[in-house]
Point group: C2
Chain length 200, copies 2
C-alpha cells in the first residue's frame, strides 16, 4: 500500500519532471536552473536535489520518463494488432511531445563517447527499432529485404522528418511526410495489405 507521504512525494516528483522536460526543451539543458524548475513546477527549490541528486540526475530522469512514454504509446492494446495506422499514430504523437525537441537539443551531448545521456539515446532508438521490427516481421516483406534494415530506415525517416521540421516549420509539413512514409511501406506489401495504386 502506498502511504499518503509516498503519494505526495510521487506527485512532487512527477511535477518536477514535467516542468524540467518543458524547460530543457524551451531553454536548453545548460540554461535551465533549479530555480526555473521550482518556479514552473510549484515545488520548492530545495526538494529538487532531494529527489534527483544533481541536475544531471534530473536530466537522466527526464529522459527515462520519455523513454517510458514512448514505450507506453507503442504498447499494443489487447486485441489490437500492430498496424501501419498504429505506427503512424505513434510517430504523430512524437511530434507533439515536448521532450522530442529536447532529444534534438541534447543530441550533441549524447555524441560524447562516455556521456551518460548517450546510453538513453541508444535505448530510445533501440526501443523504436525493436517495436518496428517486430511489426514488420509479421508482414509479407519482399525477398531480400530484412525487417531489421527496414526498421532502421523507417525510424530514421521519423527522426529526420522531425529535424527538418524543427529547423524550417514553414517549409516542412510533417503530416504529409508521414503520409508519404505510410505510402512507401504500403508499396512493398502485396495489394491486399494496402499497396499503392497507380491510378488504375
Amino acid at each position: 500500500m502506498t502511504t499518503r507521504r509516498e503519494q505526495t512525494s510521487n506527485e512532487s516528483r512527477e511535477l518536477i519532471l514535467a516542468a524540467a522536460a518543458e524547460l530543457f526543451a524551451e531553454k536548453g539543458y545548460r540554461q535551465t536552473t533549479f530555480v526555473d524548475v521550482a518556479e514552473r513546477s510549484g515545488i520548492s527549490r530545495g526538494s529538487i536535489p532531494w529527489h534527483f541528486g544533481s541536475k544531471e540526475g534530473l536530466l537522466l530522469a527526464v529522459l527515462e520518463r520519455s523513454v517510458a512514454m514512448v514505450r507506453d504509446s507503442l504498447a499494443e492494446k489487447p486485441g489490437e494488432e500492430a498496424s501501419l495506422e498504429q505506427l503512424s499514430r505513434g510517430a504523430g504523437m512524437m511530434f507533439a511531445l515536448p521532450t522530442t525537441k529536447l532529444f534534438v537539443t541534447l543530441l550533441v551531448e549524447a555524441q560524447e563517447p562516455d556521456s551518460p545521456i548517450r546510453g538513453r539515446y541508444v535505448e530510445i532508438h533501440n526501443t523504436l527499432r525493436e517495436h518496428c521490427r517486430r511489426w514488420l516481421e509479421r508482414l509479407p516483406l519482399p525477398q531480400g529485404l530484412s525487417a531489421e534494415a527496414l526498421a532502421v530506415t523507417i525510424i530514421g525517416a521519423g527522426i529526420g522528418v522531425h529535424q527538418q521540421w524543427l529547423l524550417a516549420p514553414e517549409r516542412v509539413d510533417p503530416e504529409q511526410a508521414l503520409a508519404a512514409l505510410r505510402a512507401l511501406v504500403a508499396g512493398i506489401l502485396p495489394a491486399g495489405e494496402g499497396a499503392a495504386s497507380h491510378g488504375e
Copy 2:
C-alpha cells in the same frame, strides 16, 4: 587571370577549411582553437583571422564549403539521368564526409532562432530536398502522393539513419538501411521502374 599571390591565398584558404572541418567534427566547434587549425593545416595561426575574421566566420565558411560539396555531388553529369542509383550514391557519400558528423555536432546551435548557422542548415536541407523533388517529379508516382512530401521523407530517412548510426555504429548498418530505402522507393513505382518482387 588569377595572380600567383591569389592562387597561394586560395590554397591556404582551402587548407584551413579542410583542417577546420576535420577538427570541428572530431573535437566539436567549441573545443577547437585557431592553434589547432594552424597545426593541422600547416598555415600560420595569424593568417586564419585574416582569411575568415572570427571563429564563427571560419565555421560559416566550413558549412558553406560542405553545402557546395553536397551540391556538386548531386549535380547531374551530362547524359546521366537522375536515378535511384545516383541518389543512393549521393547518400552513401554523405556518410563518408567528415563534415556530416559536424552537421550533427552543430545541430544544437542551429536550433537557436537567430543562430547564423541555422540558415546554413536550412539551406543544406533545402538543397537536398529540391534535388530529390526534381528527380521524383519525373517519375510516375502513385496518385495522391506529392514529390514534395516524398522528398521530405526520403531526405529524412537519410538524416535519421545517419544519426542512429553515429550513436550506435555496432547496431546500425547504414548500407543495409539505404538498400531498404531504395526498395521502398522502387515499391511505389510501376514494375518497369523497379518495383519490389514478392518472390514470384
